[in-house]
């Protein structure tokens, strides 16, 4: 049976769209095989594949520190975390594949530079304190977004997010623990933690994407239950949780305008440098070229493994037929 992706010129589009939106209103999950607007499918493929690529590229900044972890315990934690990112990429590619896009096509888009991934991974990891800060701030920001997406209307994406959130919370906590220990440590350790916070704070705030007023997709994504909260709402939740914790640890934040507003209970941040955000999105961030080059190299160097396993499988099949 052909999967039905409706387009507005279909004679029954209005009717089916109404039923589709009613299903989402009732809190039902849309599953592979169900009718959905082509635009719903397109938006999901865009978001999920971008998300998958982010997990895959996200292994690079941290992977670079596995050999330099200060203790065996920290090395084991970091290896497990990077393994998780690889797994999360797999969960997400799977969710996108249920919409009829192939993994080959998605990887091709990533390696050719056509596909986007989270800009945060185009910043360098300069010291060991960056590893803790990435866990606390970058994964902290990611969890806020992912918790929101775990409630989304598309079954496979929601399930991937529920699984990812459960695992990602470990990433957040180990990072926070690391930074808090450094904040209580030697002057050099404190200075390293502060330096890392200074460099990662703003890029972390940019992870939720442009302000609501500049986010043209938000309305339809909300209507169809893909996004259940706006960018600014998620960003505010992140700041409200993390700003007081960082300050309480005796560290500072690189935002002179940051203040607590007792009336709303919100921490109000200063202006975000969106020029920097768009520069990095367009490929001009500090590490864009290196990240892509590393992915391409890994893909090329793995080619013989893929070929060998395929040859082995073909040989086994032949033997099985001969028996």
């Amino acid at each position: 049976m052909a999967v039905k992706y409706g387009i507005p010129t279909d004679p029954d589009y209005t009717e089916r769209l109404a039923e589709f939106e009613a299903r989402i209103q009732r809190g039902e999950k849309i599953e592979p095989g169900d009718w959905m607007p082509e635009e719903y499918r397109r938006q999901l493929i865009r978001m999920i594949s971008q998300h998958a690529h982010s997990e895959v590229v996200g292994m690079l900044p941290e992977g670079a520190w596995i050999t330099r972890a200060p203790t065996l315990k920290r090395k084991m934690i970091l290896i497990a975390k990077v393994q998780d990112e690889a797994g999360h990429g797999q969960y997400l590619y799977h969710a996108a594949e249920t919409l009829g896009v192939s993994r080959e096509a998605m990887l091709e888009a990533l390696l050719s530079g056509k596909a986007k991934y989270s800009s945060i991974f185009n910043y360098p990891t300069l010291t060991w304190a960056d590893i803790g800060t990435i866990g606390w701030l970058v994964d902290g920001a990611a969890i806020k977004n992912q918790t929101m997406l775990a409630a989304c209307s598309y079954g496979p994406y929601s399930r991937a997010m529920v699984r990812i959130c459960a695992e990602e919370t470990f990433h957040h906590k180990q990072g926070k623990e690391m930074v808090l220990l450094y904040a209580k440590g030697t002057p050099k350790q404190r200075q390293m933690a502060q330096d890392a916070i200074n460099r990662w704070w703003w890029p972390a705030l940019m992870m939720m994407g442009p302000h609501d007023a500049d986010s043209p997709n938000t309305e339809i994504l909300t209507r169809w239950g893909i996004k259940t909260k706006s960018n600014d709402t998620v960003r505010q939740e992140f700041i409200n949780e993390h700003a007081p914790e960082i300050l309480e640890a005796g560290l500072t934040l690189p935002d002179p305008d940051l203040r607590y507003d007792p009336q709303s209970g919100n921490w109000i941040h200063g202006p975000i440098n969106w020029d920097e955000f768009w520069q990095v999105v367009k490929g001009n961030g500090p590490m864009n070229k290196e990240r892509l080059a590393a992915r391409r190299k890994a893909h090329q160097e793995g080619a013989w493994v893929r070929e060998a396993l395929e040859a082995y499988a073909a040989k086994q099949q032949k033997t099985a037929l001969a028996v």
Binding site: M1, G27, E28, K29, E31, P32, G33, D34, W35, K73, M76, I77, A80, Q83, D84, G87, Q90, Y91, H94, A95, E97, S102, R103, E104, A105, L107, I143, T147, A150, A151, G155, P156, S158, R159, A160, V162, R163, C165, A166, E167, T169, F170, H172, K173, Q174, K176, E177, L180, E237, N240, P244, E245, E248, A249, G265, R306, L309, E310, Y312, A313
Partner: protein, 186 residues
């Protein structure tokens, strides 16, 4: 463009008394490769005691909406032999990290006939989606204790992968939180 191999759906059983549940898919060249990859991707943490894989192409699936719109055509060949089919279904819209659960087996001449039988046999709860898989197409992990130990036990000891390991970090964890992450991990 090179190949990423065929896609295999993965079913994981958390404990001996729970059903196998669809957790996601992997790409692999053959069934054993698929099982190994599935173990690395879906059993990095407790718990698991068994895994099954099946080629995505071997699954016959229908959602409730599909069945309402187009009842399954039952023209199975009368000459075809009866064979066992494994039945999985989804019964809830609740937030979850798994899709369809194993419910049992039926014997039929085609996937369509198997689905019809499944709908007549498993009626305790309304099904939102069905998966029908020829039993001989499932590849299962070795059920011996030795394999279960070597495949699934290591994840149990790596407690640093669990968020609870870090529960005591900072005095202010709950103090400042306006909305705690709800991860469905009760």
């Amino acid at each position: 463009m090179d190949t990423q191999w065929p896609r295999w759906e993965v079913f994981k059983q958390d404990t001996p008394h729970k059903p196998h549940q669809a957790v996601g898919s992997v790409h692999a060249a053959d069934p054993q490769h698929a099982l190994l990859t599935a173990r690395n991707i879906f059993a990095r943490r407790p718990q698991a005691v068994s895994m099954w894989v099946v080629r995505a192409d071997d699954i016959f699936s229908r959602t409730k909406e599909e069945l309402a719109a187009d009842p399954v055509n039952m023209e199975s060949e009368k000459t075809a032999a009866l064979r066992p089919y494994v039945v999985f279904r989804k019964t809830s819209h609740r937030r979850s990290m798994t899709f369809v659960d194993y419910v049992g087996e039926v014997s039929a001449r085609s996937p369509e006939e198997a689905l019809k039988q499944a709908r007549a046999k498993f009626t305790d709860v309304e099904a939102l989606a069905w998966w029908i898989v020829p039993a001989d197409r499932l590849t299962k992990s070795d059920p011996s204790n030795e394999t279960i130990e070597s495949w699934f036990a290591p994840a149990k000891e790596k407690t640093y992968k669990q968020q609870q390991y870090y529960a005591t970090v900072g005095s202010h964890v709950s103090k400042h939180k306006t909305g705690r992450e709800d991860t469905d991990e009760a």
